[in-house]
Every structure is written in C-alpha cells, then in structure tokens.
Symmetry: D2
Subunit: 331 residues, 4 copies
C-alpha cells in the first residue's frame, strides 16, 4: 500500500546528508511512496515548510556537502505545545513515517514528538562527531576525518619548515573520535581527547617530556599536538601560552573550525549514507518505530532511539592503543 | 629479547604501504628490535638488497603513495632453488621474522619460502583490489575507491554536458569490490562486476532497457556504466561498439588505469595500515607464523596465509542489494 | 536601454563554463538586461530550446564542472539553411546579443551565423586545449593542467615503486599546451608535443638515450613520458611497443581521457571566467561585434573572431626552454 | 667557468619553494656549478649550517609543500656584525652567488648583506601574500588562493545549510591579494581588503544593507564575508559581534590560519617556481646583482631588489572591478 513519508535533517550539517536524502528519494520512488522533505529541521514541522522530493532532485546530489533540506535549531519545538503543533501538521499532510537524519539531539526531538504523534519514526545517524551510541560510524564522520587530516598535512609543511610547535584544534563536541583518528592518520605527535584527559598538569608534562626527548635526539623539531575541542580548560590559546612559556619557544594555535563540517563527502560516507537511507525506507510500514538505523560490523542494525544517548560511545580500543604505541617513540 | 625483523612489499603497489612500513618501524623501535627493509619484493631476498630502517625514514612517510621499498615481480623466487637462496640470505642476516605486505600472490610466495626457511612469517594485506579472503579491507582499497569516484565525478560533468553514454573501466583484477563500491559511491547508472556477470547479451539488454526507460521519461540523458576490468569479453571497446550500434548514439569508453594505484592514502587506509603494522610487530617472537594480520569487524584477526587464497571473498551483500535497489529507479 | 541577451556553450565542455555563465547572469541582472540560455550549443538555436536565466540559477554554480546549458555538436547548423533558421529564431525572441562560450569551432559557427543575422555576437574562449589565438589562456585550461598533473603525480607513485617506464597521454587536440605544461609541472622526464615533434625515430632515440644515461648513473629508474594526443603516428600503444622492444622492459601506456574535461574549476579558471563574462556583458549594446573577449597580459582584449583561428597560437617560449633545460639533466 | 652557488629560503614558507629549489639544483647541475643550500634562512649563513644539493635531492620534490631548507627569523643577522659574519662565512666557502627565495623582508636582508659581501645576490619572490612589487605573482600565491577557496567552498556548505552569516579571515599580511581573489573565486558575498577599507562604520553599513536587500528578496540567506587579516580593528571577533548585534542573528567567525601556508603546490606555482629558478641560474656569473627575478606578463624580468619594497603593489584593477560588479547583485 502506498505510504506518505517525510524526511528532515537536524542538528549540525554533515557531509553525506544529501547522499542519504538521495537514497531515500530513490527508495521511495521504487516503492511507490510519496516523499516530502521538511525544511530547516524541526522548524519545518512547526511552520509546515516543506517540499515534495522526486527523482529530479537527486541528480548530482550524492556529491554535495551540506543539506538541501537545510538545518536549524528549534527552541519552540522543545515544548509540549511544539510537539503538539508538529503532530497536527504531520496529520494534516497524512504522513505515515518521519525519517530524521541527525545526531542525538535530533533523536531526542523525535522521541519528544512521539508523545504527541503515533506515526512511525525512524532515525539515521548524521553528524561529523560520531558521538551516537549504537552504530560504528555516523554519516559525515569519515569526511570530517579526511578534512582534518588534509589540514594537518598542510600545517605540518609549515611546522617542518620552521621546526615549530603547533596546536591544532579539531571538532568533536564532547567526544574524541575525530581528534584521535585525525591525529593517528596525520601522524600527529600528540593528541588530547576528553576520554583520556587526566588533568592539565599531567598532559602538559607529557607533551614537554616528549618534545624534549625528541630535541635531545634530533635538535630542533616540529611537533604537532591535536586537541579535541572543549577539552582544555580555557581553550587552545591557554594551552599555547602555557606550553610556550615552558618551552621558551613559539607555539602556534590553529583552530580548524567550520571547514570541518563541509565538503563533498568521501566515498565511505556516500556508501554509508546510501545504505542507511535505502534500509530505512525498507522499514516504512512495519511496526518498527522510534529506532535508529545504523551500521555495526558492516551490517545494518536497528537501535531504539533512547539507547543512542543512554551511554557514551567509547573510543575504539584498537585506535587508542595504536595511538599510544606510535606516540611514544617518534622521530 | 631483541629480535631481527625484515619487511618487504610485493605485488602491485597500494596507497598505505608506506604508512604500514612507518608503523612497523616505530613499533620495532619501541620494542628495541632491529629492522631491515628488503628492496624490490622477493628480488631483494634473492639479491640480498636491503636497507636498515630507522625512525629517520618515517618522517613525512605516512602520506606518501607507492612504496619506498619498491615492488617487483620475481620469477626466480618461484623455484625451489629461489626459496633456498632466499632462506640462506635470511639466515646470513640472522632474521627472526619476515613481514610481507602484499596480496595473495605475495602470500603464496611467503608460504613457498616456508618450505626452506623456518623463521617467523607474517603477512599484511596490501592491494587496491581487496581480493584477499579473511579480512574486511586491504590496505589501499579505500584510497582506490576514492580515486575512482573522483574520476567518475569528473566524467559525469562531461557526460551531463553532452547527455552522453560513458563506460568507465575500474581496476580490481578478478574481483568486483572496487567497481561495485565506486559505482555505488559515484551514483553511476549501472555496474558490471564479475561476481554477478551473467552473459553479454543479458547485461547489454539490461543496460539498453534502462537507458530507454530513462529517455522515455526525461529525453536525452547522460548514463554512466562502471565496468570491472577483465569481465567483458573483448574489453571495454567491444562493449562500447556493441552498445553504440544498438543505441545509435556515441558511447565513450574511459579506462582509469594506473592512476588508481597511486596517490596519498586517504585516512581510512592510513589508519588500517598503522593498526595492522603495529599489531604485526606485537606478534614478533611468538609462536604464530604463516598468518596474515587483518581486520574483521574493526578488530585485528590472525588468519592462516593458506586461507587467504583458499576461497573467493564474496562482495558485501548489503552493498550489492543497495546497488541493485538504487540502479533500478534513477533519474 | 534594456537589452535581450542570449548565451550558449558549444564544443567540448570545460571547467569554468558555469562560472562564466554565472558572471553573465549577474552582470545582466545588474544592467537590467533579460538573459536566456540556449541549450545544447547551436542545436538550441535551431530547435528554439532555451531557458531564462536569473539569479536563482547562480547559487553554487561557480564551483560546478561541465555546463548547465549543455553542449553538443550540430551538423545541421553548418549549412546556410541552418544559419537562416537560427537567425529567424533569434529574431523571434528579439535577441540583441548572442554570447558564445567555446573554442575556435564554436567561433566559426558564430561567424557563419553572422551571414544571416545582424545582431551583436561576442565570443568567450572556453576549452581545455588553450588552442585559441589572441588570448593567453582559455577558460578550463588551468583546471585541465591541474587534473593532468594530479594524475601524473599518482602515476609516478607506481612508476617509482616498480622503477618502470610509463607513457601518459594528455589531451590538447592538435596543440601541446596541456602536455607541455603538465609535463613541466609534474616533473615528467620527457614530453612529446606536436609543435616540436620531428619524427618518430628521432624522438625515440632521444628518449632511449635519456633513459640509458639515467640507468648508467642510477641503476633501475622510473621514467615518465608525457605524450600529447594525436601526435604519435599509430597512437600511444604503438609508441609503447616500440619503446618496450628497444628497452627490453615493460612500458605502460596510460590515457588520461575524459577525466581531464571535468571537475570543479580551479581558482584561476573561476577568476578568468568571471572577468571575461563580466567584461563581455559590458560590451552589450556597443557597436562591437564578432569579437572574442580574451585576456592578454592580465588585461581584457577584444579580438576579431576571425583572428582566433587565423594562425596557430605558439607555445610559450619560456615554458619550452625551461622544459628543455630541466629535461636534459634529471635524476 | 665553474661557479659555487648557494641558496636559502627565508620568511614565511610558501608552496612551490621546493619546486624552485629543484629547478635551481637541476640548472646548476647542467651548468656544472656546485650548489649548497643554507638551512633555516639567514641563520644558516651565520652558523655555517648547510648541505650540498645534488640531483638526488630533487626526486619527488616538485610536489612537496614547505621547504626542505627550512626557514626561520633571524634577529642576529640584522646587525652590522651579523652581515659581517655572514660575509665571512660565504667567503670561507668560496660562494660566488647567493640566491634568496622569500618576500620583501628576505630581500631587505639580502641588501643588508651586500654592505659586507660583494658576491652576486639574486632574489626569487616566494610568499603566499603576493606583496612583492615588480612581479605579477609570487611563488606560493596561486596555491594559497586555491587553499582558501577550497576552504570557503566548504564553509559555504554549512552556511547554506543554516542560512547563516560567516566571516572568513584570509591571510595576506598587509595586502588584499589573497582575500580579494579568494573572495572572487569562491563567490563570496562581500570582501574587506586593506586597499579599499574606508572605515568600520561604512563597511558595516554596506554589509548590512546587502544582507537586508538579499533577505527582502529571498527570505533567510547564507552570507559569506571574506576579511583580509590585519584590516579590521580589534580583529574578526569584534566584527562578528558588531554584525551579530546589528543583525540580531548569529555570525560565525572562521580563521583559516596556517593551513594556507602549506600543501602541495598547484601547477601554476610549480611552473612559476621552475621558470624563475631556471632563469636565475642562467644569470649566475653575469654582472647582474641585487636583483629579483620575477615574471611580468608571462616574461621573466629583472628588478632591483630595492624596488621590490619601494612601493606598495596595487591590486589588479580588473579583479577589483569584477568583484565590485559581482558583489552588488547577488542571489
């Protein structure tokens, strides 16, 4: 039987959201479902702002960064009245299934909506931070690693030329996935992530010891510290100043910033987004609801939305150990 | 106790081989092992051509394509005499452990060597083709997908401009991993892979049907067929001619070629290579031998070398189904 | 006074054509002109296929490869009847000025049209081949050099790994601009361009001498020959076979192909396209007609269309000499 | 007659410095000159820190960012004693010609050296800022534009997704070359450069007017302002706060930072660097000294070092006008 499906993107945009939307459009077309896209995240639900999505929209979409449905925060939706209004609007359009692409904040919004709307709700994890429990990777995460690594590769050119110490701040909200993997893949000399942050004094000592050991061996050297955002008290400049005064040499802070959210998605994000979007549409019309479609060990999984924020997803142990192993002894 | 370790790269070069060498150097340094690198694959073993690898060699190595140890075919090694000579040379240098980075051909060589040498032998899967059983991905595979996808993204610009049919040949030896995933991630319109190749007539009809259905709906359209190498009898030009005469319109064949082997490795290949290299050194001195270190479901695994070519690794079912699903209905 | 302007893209597509269209749209909007875009090159003129172009069309257009107006060959237009029909259609729409973005073939078409239509005709050079006289660079040329260089950078990884000889065929139609500059910028070891091609025997001897000199000094080496398309009798494979039999070693031919036409334009092409498009609209309504707007020594120039194909634009002497200088002595 | 040549890189590193060093090595080898490279800019002169440069050093060098000779500031050299010591060291090594790759500060250093040393001094402009008078472009400038443009392309993805205002700070020291051209090539909505900066109030009003005009026409829109470093009093955050409070909406500042100095040089920088390096060596042994080798209108020029900082190189008028033209009316 034909279904009416709606999709929205919410929270920080991530490369691959458009690839996911494309897969949903194609899958709906194949099944004969009608599909609309709400604009500006949950705002679109409140303001009944949407557009019908057909195959025309999908041409040359897989490679575009950002999200054609736009995203935005939406305070009004968080109230009970907000959920009620959204539910009314969904009913007015006869929507059977709502697919939400976003992070845990977006999924909490979906759960909140379910208090007023009994339609089917499916989530797809889309955020560069990878901080959604229940899945191995979120859509956008792979691209963000590559963007950070390309930037650090560039910073290293200058760091080497001047044999200077650089601090590079990488996004990740309150998780170290991006920072750890970007540091490992860029052969950074040290990494500071929230999951393994002891205290300022200890981290500082470790960094200084490592630089001094290197200098003793090699003379002047470049040294790159990757720092996850929100982890160092006082921020990157504070760390730069403390390190600089200890080392008696210049320390340059670089904040990669919003560049990390954009760009054409790399293949792994396009593949993940396409699989998850296709799989989600396959669940439309089933009894399953309030679940996130993710991928674990290369297979699709269905996870209750509530579990996606119930615990903090740990860093991959193998990556942590490899980073520790390669950080200790480095030229 | 201190060990003497040797490493070589063999078979087609792959992005990330250098990242793997770097990880091995660092891990050996940490453990206090001596490390030498044999040059030109198994030729180096026969000609006692090698260099000592120290931390100096690792600076700015993680991002380099190719292999600093070079690679080459080596017919002489395949004989019993070849294995005997290699064993003698390894003994002369007092090598305890040999690490071979390469594909199944390289691992067969390692097994062959074991008939004459009783030192420890460890393999690390390195090839863009991903056709090594027992691991999810081989070092170089992720970068090759991205290179193919970037190229197809570019071909699509011209295909769209002229609303023309393009055939793009992608590497992969006798496996469809690269072709399937590059097609899926580039939103190609059709893909031909050995694992799902029925016969020429049937494939041709499917392609033609799809183009005609598209044209009926949309008028002139671009159409990109990704073709795995070695699958179409007579090669890409034969397919282009047959399709062209059927469709009465120009069909352009593009062979991506050796460009797919090179380039700076993407993050996923750098991470995989670093983990496997580090893990392999961790096994040095244990009883384990004639095994490949791979990654399955994000965890390191140890696989007897013989199993890596004992069966044909199947395509990921989820990717196949997604490709089929998205190929049927496309704008 | 308000004007009605039309634009079309013709000939091989080139990165930056969209950036040029964007600039024309913005400039027309500023001046209060109406702008339409004919589709599929001169076919659009014959079939009255066009769309109105407004600022809506320009968002995120500067970075797109290909051409949103599509391109195509058009045999029917070459007849006198073709020009007459086109003229009639232009009059029916009240077009004052036609802007043609393309190469010399496209400009000949524009000149042909002028025998039947007395409206204003302006040309903008757009082709990756740079073979348009009267301007320093054509739109798309800078990007094509970079694409070829990135590809050769990748081929070198494999060439180095195997110390092997590679031939890389680069586009350029009958001109050596792309091949020469791609060779120079990629540190290729030899280049064959039509402007300096003596005869097969002589070129072959020079290549062989150079490889042998290198081998005498260094042992096995990689060696990359960049070959302009259409220059070697019998094509790249013929050269590969001859060289291979002389050198008694494998020689790999790589044809970069249509990949070179696509991709997001590099900054220099975006800048050139934007300047030329803006400048062209500034000439709308003046007496100037049948001219190409190009750039010479960083300044806009107006060149009679007829001069753009009257003589063969020579290679830049400084580039030729530098290539010769750096080719002679190379590691 | 054989000559002894020395080369150093000084000031901020720039992509293409290595390509220039490579060209100098090859040209010296061809001429039979001996070449040494001083390390760490003028420090190497003072500390007699150098290495001999031979063809071995040039393999795979053209594509590397940074500088293998390192760079550094050097206060000690600025004194008379510094110049005397440097001169003594040059004489001790029998250097005939010193080639300095850097910006105007580096050239001032060379002039200072000439008060104590009567050897030949040649300069080659290398800086991403392009703020050296007497040449069209400096080595590194083209790559820095592309890096900035790629970053702004990524920022636009997020800006569009959230329809938000972004400020992007681009390097350039006290010149607007990078900012202007990056803004033009990335289709930024506004640009602030020192050469055309009136006062804060006026710039702010213009930005606000433009955003409001756009919003009136289109509803919420993204808006990207490119800001040259060192131009806005109080810096980017000050501007962000003022704009934010005026517009009553979030304004995000992004500082691209040192990423802009690094990366593999684009083709245009590799070509420029190779030509200038080759040309400079051609002048070794002539009477010409204390000159910079630059390129003007695609031809090599020789400019007295003193002229390179005697006046402020103006922005290209054509770029300024095009930016103004395209900024006024934009979707």
């Amino acid at each position: 039987m034909s279904k009416r499906v709606a999709v929205l993107t919410s929270g920080g945009d991530a490369p691959g959201m458009n690839a996911c939307i494309r897969a949903i459009v194609i899958a709906c077309e194949t099944k004969g479902y009608t599909l609309i896209g709400y604009l500006h995240g949950y705002n679109g639900l409140l303001n009944q702002e949407y557009e019908t999505l057909s195959l025309n929209a999908t041409h040359n979409l897989i490679q575009q960064g950002g999200t054609i449905l736009h995203s935005a925060r939406c305070e009004a939706f968080k109230s009970h009245q907000g959920a009620k209004d959204a539910a009314k609007n969904l009913q007015a359009l006869g929507i059977d299934t709502l697919i939400v692409i976003g992070g845990d904040g977006s999924f909490k919004g979906a759960q909140h909506l379910s208090t007023c709307w009994d339609g089917q709700i499916l989530g797809i994890p889309g955020t560069i931070d990878n901080d959604v429990a229940g899945c191995d990777a979120t859509v956008g995460y792979y691209t963000a690693i590559d963007t950070a690594v390309s930037s650090i590769d560039k910073v290293r050119d200058t760091a080497d030329a001047f044999e200077r110490i650089f601090l590079v701040e990488v996004m990740g909200r309150h998780a170290g996935f991006l920072a750890l993997n970007a540091a490992l893949a860029s052969a950074a000399d040290y990494v500071i992530v929230p999951e393994r942050f002891d205290n300022e004094q200890q981290e500082l000592e470790r960094i200084i010891n490592q630089i001094e050991a290197r200098r003793k061996l090699k003379g002047p050297v470049s040294f790159i510290v990757v720092v996850a955002e929100n982890v160092w008290p006082g921020g990157l400049n504070t760390l730069a100043e403390r390190l600089s005064s200890h080392m008696q040499s210049e320390v340059r802070p670089v904040t990669l910033g919003h560049v990390q959210r954009g760009g054409s998605p790399v293949s792994q994000d396009r593949l993940l987004a396409t699989k998850l979007g296709t799989y989600a549409v396959g669940l439309v019309g089933t009894e399953k609801t309030l679940i996130m479609i993710g991928e674990v060990d290369h297979h699709p999984v269905e996870v209750p939305l509530k579990e996606t924020w119930a615990y903090t997803k740990p860093l991959d142990e193998c990556s942590v150990e490899t980073m520790l192993a390669t950080m200790n002894q480095r030229y």
